[in-house]
Symmetry: none
Subunit: 265 residues, 2 copies
Amino acid sequence: MAGTDSSQPSATVRGAPTIILVEPQLGENIGMAARAMLNCGLTDLRLVRPRDGWPNKKAVATAAGADPVIDSVRLYPRTEDAIADLTLVYAMTARPRGMVKDVVSPEDAAVEMRRRGAAGERVGVLFGGESCGLDNDDVALADAIITVPLNPAFSSLNLAQAVFVTGYLWSRLGDPLSPSQEIPAKETVAASKQELIGLFEHLERELDAGGFFHVAPKRAIMSRNLRNMLERARLNAQEVRTLRGVIATLSGHRIPPGSKGKKKP
Amino acid sequence: MAGTDSSQPSATVRGAPTIILVEPQLGENIGMAARAMLNCGLTDLRLVRPRDGWPNKKAVATAAGADPVIDSVRLYPRTEDAIADLTLVYAMTARPRGMVKDVVSPEDAAVEMRRRGAAGERVGVLFGGESCGLDNDDVALADAIITVPLNPAFSSLNLAQAVFVTGYLWSRLGDPLSPSQEIPAKETVAASKQELIGLFEHLERELDAGGFFHVAPKRAIMSRNLRNMLERARLNAQEVRTLRGVIATLSGHRIPPGSKGKKKP
């Protein structure tokens, strides 16, 4: 999530999609949808004629603490009322509807919702109830259909999963950097080459003593392979010392003085 | 999903990630995870010590017909056993672990799993139980950590959602337009986890014999650190054999019979 939004997770993220559940049946699914929403920084949940009424204890339980979403749920008698203030509305459905209406992927919908949301528009997605989904009149209210591309032989998606994929893909577009870049630098500093070479030579010395390189012409290539393996591990200084302790232990020798390795018995 | 794979949804899609749930608690969550898997064309589900045993009626109910997944579930006593035949394993966790291990986004993990899977490798993702997640020893077995970038104030993701996002992002890369499939395979195949674990245990056995872990409470953390270093080196099978030869040489012991390591004098 971008910028200051991520520091205000319990407030509505500006431009975040509104989620509208039409005739949801199980409180458990409403709660799980609320949890999925807050996971992704979405907080505006609207219910149209929930079967078991509202509030719903089971929803609170499965929301697992997504109180900002649960506490601000709004109820509507009709889908039309629930989307009245929105300017871009998608209908999520797996079934073809025989309507002349765009069908987009959740990724494409996320891009468009970001774009329009950033321009100050209010956007949202309609989801139908667990057993029948949205009816055609509800779908007709939407600007376009979102169909999640899934295994065609098993494409029935749990309601909360459908909400999650919508929120997740939207939230990812707010990420100014790839997440792997955002992860703080490793606390540890890579070993110096001097430390690494000390490790290599220590290992090779002990392997020579043990007769490991008994085919002399292969010594160069074998030690090069070992060095490559150790290079790839991107060891830090502490780890180099640990490995020197390992070598010393295995070979039954103490680390030579001056090597700065930790002594191991 | 690309090509013929999508027409054979109940068969394992070639290269599809294996999902490993370690100590899952609620049958409902196992079932929902199975459903999410099959939605995305994944069928190989493995359970390590499920709290309520297996089979589990609640899992069947919430799987909502994902029988190909439920029927082929395999049980394992230890995480090591569950990942033995895999060559690339991620650990999904939201918590920082203080380990020197790569942390990647689910998108990056999906790309890498596609690439390695296309090259014939077997890939998988570890998920912890609902309340505590993975323990550090399980995380240490993984090549890298996946952290789903979520609302930092509400980042606890439902187990099935975590499985779904993994499968969904993977399945989306099977789109024939995606370039990721065209990336050439690596020349060498990564060592299996079984081979790596054999290496770890061989090393630890010899270090025990040499008194390396003389401060008993530190044994767990020290062996975990060593395992992390070796994981990071992304060893292939030949390199594992070489390192077992190194350990055998240094410790003055022969490799135990049946380990398939090369004998070194």
